[in-house]
């Protein structure tokens, strides 16, 4: 029996899945540009703008559904979580843009060397987390979402190690600072992926977990 | 357009026919009232309603005793009939499913349609044979006619009280019997009073039972175990009289008085049971 709410929920889900796809694309592009010394900032910027606009749409839609249908139980959990997830996906765009921007501004979009070979490990994990988070959103897969906790922990470890090593470097070069900032932004992306995972577990089980 | 025109005409014809039927139905009522008023008014004066009944053919006098007699007999009949009828009606409405109730309702219906002359014979056999022609016999006979009407109308009136009223009182912790005699009864008041009035009107005009119980007389009330006059009897006697010019107007006058009396009772009781709160 289809309810009036279902049509609205479908629209909201469409927006979110669109955001997921775009978010993944944006992060991929930004990392690619950073790793290979390309200037992708304009393109990343427009993708990020799309994400901002979509997140506003998602929020509006969610509140419209709440006002009209006063959802309860699983419906309420979905809508509540989707609002948060839309924010997380918008942040993917934002931080991806931050990486491209600082790469262009400080390092003139050059290919910066990574003396400790940590950044490559980090970007790989972050890309996986972004992918997994979007995948678990698509399928409401709580088990997949919970695995994000492990990766998030690993990303944190790499982040702190990079900071420690950078703090001991004698001369701050443009690339060093760019790398430190980029690593920071990557760590934030990982955080938001973990937040997303928490929301998805909440949708499925109703439990409020912490995956960080 | 032709069909529309035909329909309009048919419509008008039907409406006119219904109005015509209404007028025809009202004719007897209106003509009776008019005749009674026209012929009765000239006969009525202070003397007419206060002096005792003269022999047939003799001028002067009045129908005072007949008025008094009717009031007394109907009054006593009501004293007997109203309480019995109201309580039976309430019992039937509150406990409708019992075997006693089913039997009572059936007998009640039978009694309602009993020919009044048969009731008269009942009164004669039961009471007149024992204590003679008397007011009591008349009152009992009339009460026997009154009870089935009051029972039936009271039952209907009480049944009409919505269950929600009863439930509200019971939910307040009022015992069932108290709910009935307070809340239910006051809600059904109007219906019950209407029923009582109907029955009074009915018995005031009954002649057959009175013929066999109170006999009639020309004199004032003389005691409960004595015969007495009554309006229906007076009307009957006067109209049988060969002295048409003297007695027939008296019959009309008595008829008018009887109608006015019933009307008067009705108005007075309605006034006292009006809605006190707006």
């Amino acid at each position: 029996m289809s309810r009036l709410l279902d049509a609205g929920l479908e629209e909201l889900t469409t927006i979110l899945l669109m955001m997921g796809k775009t978010g993944e694309e944006t992060v991929e592009l930004s990392i690619e540009g950073f790793t290979n010394g390309l200037d992708v900032s304009d393109r990343v910027h427009s993708l990020s703008e799309i994400l901002v606009s979509l997140s506003v749409d998602a929020e509006d839609k969610a509140f419209e559904l709440i006002a009209k249908y006063q959802p309860v139980a699983s419906d309420l959990r979905i809508i509540k979580s989707y609002i948060k997830i839309a924010h997380d996906l918008e942040r993917y765009g934002r931080y991806a843009w931050d990486i491209s921007f600082i790469h262009k501004r400080l390092a003139k979009s050059e290919r910066c060397k990574d003396p400790w070979a940590l950044i490559e490990r980090m970007t790989e994990k972050v890309r996986d987390m972004v992918h997994d988070s979007v995948e678990s959103l698509r399928n409401h897969d709580a088990e997949l979402a919970k695995t994000l906790a492990v990766t998030e922990n690993e990303v944190d470890q790499i982040y702190f190690k990079y900071l420690d090593l950078s703090a001991e470097a004698s001369i701050p070069t443009r690339c060093l600072i760019t790398n430190v900032l980029a690593v920071r932004y990557l760590e934030r992306i990982a955080d938001h992926a973990a937040y997303m995972g928490e929301s998805i577990v909440y949708i499925v089980t109703g439990e409020k977990v912490v995956l960080r | 357009m032709n069909r529309y025109a035909t329909r309009k005409i048919k419509d008008r014809i039907m409406v006119s026919l219904t109005y015509l039927a209404l007028v025809i139905a009202l004719i007897p009522l209106i003509s009776i009232l008019l005749e009674t008023i026209m012929r009765g008014v000239p006969a009525i004066n202070l003397q007419f309603i206060s002096e005792r009944i003269p022999p047939l053919g003799q001028p002067g006098g009045g129908i005072g005793p007949a008025i008094q007699g009717t009031l007394i007999v109907v009054g006593i009949a009501s004293l007997i009939g109203v309480p019995i009828g109201v309580f039976s009606g309430i019992s039937l409405a509150e406990y409708p499913e019992t075997k006693l109730a089913l039997a009572a309702r059936f007998l009640n219906d039978v009694l309602t349609n009993m020919p009044s002359i048969v009731i008269g014979i009942f009164g004669w056999t039961m009471i007149v044979v024992v204590i003679g022609w008397s007011v009591i016999a008349g009152a009992v006979a009339l009460a026997a006619m009154m009870i089935p009407i009051v029972t039936r109308t009271t039952e209907e009136a009480v049944k009409l009280v919505p269950a929600s009223i009863r439930e509200a009182a019971i939910a307040l912790g009022v015992p069932r019997w108290k709910t009935t005699i307070t809340v239910v009864l006051s809600s059904a008041k109007k219906g019950i009073i209407t029923g009582i009035l109907l029955s009074i009107a009915r018995i005031s005009g009954e002649t057959a039972p009175l013929l066999l119980t109170i006999l009639g007389s020309r004199f004032w009330f003389n005691g409960f175990t004595e015969p007495t006059a009554a309006l229906p009897l007076a009307i009957f006697n006067f109209s049988k009289s060969p002295y048409s010019t003297i007695d027939w107007p008296r019959a009309w006058g008595a008829s008018l008085i009887l109608i006015l009396m019933i009307l008067g009772i009705s108005v007075v009781v309605r006034y006292f049971t009006r809605e006190k709160y707006v």
Partner: protein, 272 residues
């Protein structure tokens, strides 16, 4: 590894519905029949004192029958039967020598359609419970009228026309008058059977806020088919389906994360 926490302690200070609150009514193994039709099946429930408990469920699930069993009104209809226990402050109201009339004095009821006594004034309606039980002291009656009409949020609107007929009020006002009438006999428990279903949204809102106030001093049990109303006014919610108690818990839990699949389906409108 990941760690679980069930609720963040940073959140607002929720008054914990702890074991410190007592139970006013304990229903044990309650069954009820209409003739051969069993309407309630083995209900076991404990209703907290001074809280509002909502009973929800689709039409015909037995919710009205349930509350009518609490004040022994179910048995008034011919052909009905009840078995099991209903403990009011520990004593079974269906016990051998318990007079149902005294039970009903401790438990007030408000019905779906407002039913003020039609022949009585507002004043008389409010104190009907007292007058019909023989209390006629004018001063006490005056006090009670004011107190109960105030408790029902109706005093200001009717204080100048107490002698007008109870039926002259609007639907919402009539319902509040019925609530005042129930309160006047100082019950410990108030049962409400879909009290707002015959009222417009504004009147409904007034009565809902009244319900919340009343639940601080009385044990209130509300039957409603409006889930959002149950969510708004109650502390606990019971979900009945086909005569069985499917789920019963705090309103928050039931409406955010119901444990039973049937409850989830009903709440989200996936079946009537």
């Amino acid at each position: 590894m990941y760690k679980y926490e069930t609720s963040l302690s940073v959140e607002t200070e929720k008054i914990p519905v702890s074991e410190l609150m007592s139970y006013k009514i304990e229903i044990e193994g309650l069954n009820a029949w209409f003739g051969n039709n069993q309407v309630l099946k083995d209900i076991n429930m404990k209703i907290r004192e001074n809280a509002a408990t909502a009973v929800i469920g689709p039409s015909g699930c037995g919710k009205t029958t349930l509350i009518r069993c609490l004040n022994r009104m179910h048995e008034l209809v011919a052909g009905t039967r009840v078995s099991g226990k209903v403990l009011l402050d520990g004593e079974d109201i269906y016990g051998g020598n318990v007079d149902p009339v005294t039970v009903r004095r401790r438990i007030g009821m408000v019905f779906q359609k407002p039913n003020p006594f039609p022949m009585m004034s507002i004043y008389d309606n409010a104190v009907a419970g007292l007058k019909l039980n023989g209390i006629n002291d004018k001063r006490k009656l005056d006090e009670t009228v004011e107190k109960s009409l105030k408790s029902a949020n109706l005093w200001d609107e009717v204080k100048d026309k107490l002698d007008k007929s109870g039926s002259s009020l609007s639907g919402g006002q009539q319902q509040r008058l019925c609530i005042a009438r129930a309160l006047a006999v100082e019950p410990e428990i108030i049962l409400m059977d879909e009290p707002c279903s015959a009222l417009d949204p504004i009147a409904t809102a007034k009565i809902e806020s009244l319900m919340r106030n009343l639940s601080e001093d009385y044990t209130v049990v509300i039957v409603t088919h409006n889930m959002q109303q149950a969510a708004r006014v109650s502390d606990f919610t019971a979900f009945l389906y086909l005569g069985e108690l499917i789920e019963y818990g705090s309103t928050e839990d039931i409406f955010e994360n119901p444990k039973n699949e049937l409850t989830e389906k009903y709440l989200t409108g996936k079946f009537g």
